[in-house]
Every structure is written in C-alpha cells, then in structure tokens.
C-alpha cells in the first residue's frame, strides 16, 4: 500500500467519542510512513512496515487508546501486519488541524464546530458567539466551559431553547 492509500484508509477510522469524525478529520494523525523489511530469516519476501504518528487531543483523553486500537485494526484488516504507532506530543494538537469537512460533519451531527480562536486569557471573557447547530441562531450562551468530554463545552440556544455541545477551540 502506498502512503496515500493508507491516508485514505485512515479516513474510515472513526473517533470513538464523535463517530462522525475520522481520526484524520480530527487532526490526530500527524504522519504516515512505510518501509519494507524482512522480519524473519525464513520470510520469502520483505513485508511492509507502517509507522503511524499520532498526537493526543487532550492529555487525559480516554479515547486515545481506542484510537490507536482502531488504527491498528484497520491496517491489519487491510493486510498490513507490521504496524508501529508512535505518539508525539509536540507540536501540541490544536483544533486548527481539524479539517473543514470535519467541521461540517460536526455541525450536521449537532455539535457546534470549533472557532479558530478563543478568549481563555481574560477572566469572565465571553467567548466569541457560538452558532446553534440546530437553528443557526447566534443568540446562545455558555452554560459550562467543561462538558460531556474534555473537548467540549456546554451551551444553550436562547431561541430554539435546545442545549448543545460546542467543540472547544484548543490552541
């Protein structure tokens, strides 16, 4: 398999928390490289070894182990047995790496996608207005900076009255 084919394959590996997003949409996959090597003397031909570099979203995100496993399984099913998964911390993951397609999928799923900036250094600083993913109203308010998972904040729409998750800007 070529590196392009592996990238395409990874687009089918979902994020376990937000299954509409693939690990590629999420920006968790930082690199794919392949090499050929003979693992045992008795092997008749070289087998392909694939190294996938991933970066955690939040340090404590419990989904990271599932993501590693999902990637490994997808590659094994595609016939690649030698899979190395390497974790890389720097540069630190940011929501800027989320694909545009991913942001659109999030919105359709009912989660407001991350904005490209945040006001975290100002106490009581209201974040930029977040659009309600249900009715598109901008008339919304923050309920809690910490939501159902590390990556989300809880909002409510003051027009359609629906509560919704906002995928926090992380940078």
């Amino acid at each position: 398999m070529t590196e392009e084919q592996i990238w395409a394959l990874l687009e089918s590996v979902p994020d376990p928390e937000v299954p509409v997003l693939s690990v590629v949409d999420l920006g968790v996959v930082r690199g794919v490289s392949t090499s050929l090597r003979r693992t045992k003397q008795s092997d008749l031909s070289d087998s392909q070894e694939v190294t996938i570099t991933i970066t955690p979203t939040y340090s404590g995100c419990p989904a990271m182990d599932m993501i590693s496993m999902g990637i490994r399984m997808a590659l094994i099913e595609a016939g690649i047995k030698n899979v190395q998964i390497v974790q890389q911390l720097s540069p630190a993951w940011t929501t800027d790496w989320m694909s545009e397609a991913g942001k659109q999928k999030l919105k359709e799923y009912g989660i407001a996608p991350p904005l490209s900036n945040t006001i975290v250094d100002e106490l009581f600083g209201e974040d930029h207005k977040i659009q309600c993913p249900q009715c598109n109203s901008m008339n919304t308010e923050l309920v809690s900076q910490f939501g159902s998972t590390s990556c989300k904040a809880l909002y409510r729409c003051l027009d359609c009255k629906e509560p919704f998750d906002y995928f926090k800007c992380h940078r």
Binding site: P56, Y58, S59, G60, C61, P62, L89, S90, P91, A92, W93, T94, V120, D121, L123, F124, V143, S144, Q145, F146, G147, S148, S150, L154, H170, R171
Partner: protein, 259 residues
C-alpha cells in the same frame, strides 16, 4: 570519572523532578476527583472531574517519561501504585483534603497560577521531552486557571457567607503555598544547567496574579507567615498516607491485577 558522576547526578535529579511534577498532578487530580457526584451543581461537578482527568493525563506523560529514565522495566503503573509515602514528591498543597468547595477552589487557583508560569518556562527547557509535555499541558492549564480564578472572584465577591468562608480557606492553606518557590538541591542543579527555570524567580509574577484576582474578589492576601515545606523531599502531612492507602489498595493486595 568526574564527568560520569555529574551525569549520574543530573539523571537522578531529572528523574526526581519529573516524579515531583507527576506526583503533584496525580495527587491533586485524585483529590478533585473525590468531588465526583458531590459537586455543588452538576456543571461544576463535571468541571472538577474534567480538570482531574486533564491532570491525570499529564501525570501519565510524566510517569511514562520517568519510567523511561529509570529503565529496569519500570512502568507508569509501578510509579503510581507501588511507591510509598516517603517516595512521593508532591507539593504539600496538593494533598490537603478538599474541605468545602471554596477550599478546593483556592487550592486549585494557587496551583494553576503557579502551573501557568512554570509551564510557560518549561516550554523553553533544554530537555525536549519536558518541553513537549509542558507545551501540551499549558493549553489545558489555561482553562483550569480561568475556571478557578473566576470562582475565587464569584465566592469572594459573593455573599457574606461565601466571602468569609473562602477567606478562611485562604488563610488556612496559605502556609502550603511557599513550597513551590523554595528549590531543593536537585532543582538548583537542574536550574544551573537550563532544564528548569529558577523557581524563586517565578514568585513575583505569581504574587502579582494572585493579588490581582484577590483584589477583584475583595479578598485579602495573608500576611507573611512561616511556609511549610517537605513534600518535594518526601516529608508529608498526615493526609497523604490515607490517600495512598485507598489509591494503591488494589495493586498492593492483588499485585499485577488488571481490568
């Protein structure tokens, strides 16, 4: 020979320092997770557990690094579950019992204000792994700082009851806040070779932050007092042993047990 000796000392000091950072986060994370199901309102209960989870995640990166430095097949779990009280190097601040919500908030705020300053400097460490962990952790810490500082202001500038209670908490916990800025011999060694910042130099910036938030919260900064120390070198208050007994029970009773 001299070179080897210096190298070994540095390696030991580095490992102890990484353990100190990890232990502090682990113990504080464990403490605030004790709030799970007991928070004053649902959103704040969730916030506390979320912050605890971030701290535990940062702890894992640090323990994994410490385990790699130690070698001998050590794992992150060995470091969390199979060391005794005198081997833990966490700040005394982190092991203090939760008290009421206000006490928990003050403890968190004093620590996160320090973390922000420390991580900003550790990002520039000559040690790449520490710098990478700091870079990652800082983004999370910024949210923790904002959350805890806002709560200090809400409670301080809230009702008479909330103001009195949080001021009392500040006065009680203050004696544990000095340890952060008193370097151990190991820390002095690491500062001299550019791995960690000079801790004493962070104190002014920390005091400025804390004073500004307390002023907005109409709270008083306590007068200078004797500062407790010892956590970094394994001498703890009476509270840590009980925490470890609960936290480590399963691995001690059933060594190697897994889910």
């Amino acid at each position: 020979m001299t070179n080897i000796a210096i190298h070994t000392d540095t390696q030991t000091a580095l490992c102890d320092y990484v353990l100190h950072l990890a232990d502090t986060n682990l113990i504080l994370g464990q403490r605030i997770c004790e709030w799970c199901g007991h928070g004053p309102i649902l959103e704040q209960d969730i916030a506390l557990s979320n912050i605890g989870l971030d701290l535990l995640g940062q702890t894992r990166s640090l323990y994994q690094y410490a385990a790699a430095l130690l070698g001998e097949g050590k794992t992150e779990d060995d470091l969390a579950f199979l060391r005794s009280e005198r081997q833990f190097k966490n700040l005394l601040l982190s092991e203090q019992p939760n008290g009421d919500f206000g006490y928990t908030i003050v403890r968190q705020f004093l620590y996160e204000a320090y973390q922000q300053l420390l991580l900003e400097e550790l990002k520039k460490s000559s040690n790449e792994q520490l710098a990478a962990i700091a870079e990652k952790s800082l983004i999370e810490t910024n949210y923790h700082y904002k959350w805890s500082a806002e709560w200090v202001i809400r409670l301080g500038d809230g009702t008479e009851e909330s103001k009195n209670r949080i001021q009392k908490s500040i006065n009680e916990i203050w004696t544990y806040s000095g340890e952060m800025f008193i370097p151990t011999a190991d820390e002095q060694l690491l500062t001299s070779i550019g791995i960690i910042p000079d801790l004493a130099s962070l104190k002014d910036a920390w005091m400025q932050k804390v004073t500004a938030v307390f002023a907005e919260a109409t709270l008083n900064v306590p007068e200078e007092m004797y500062m407790q120390r010892g956590g970094k070198t394994g001498v703890h208050t009476e509270h840590l042993g009980y925490m470890l007994a609960e936290m480590q029970y399963l691995q001690r009773q059933y060594p190697g047990q897994t889910w």
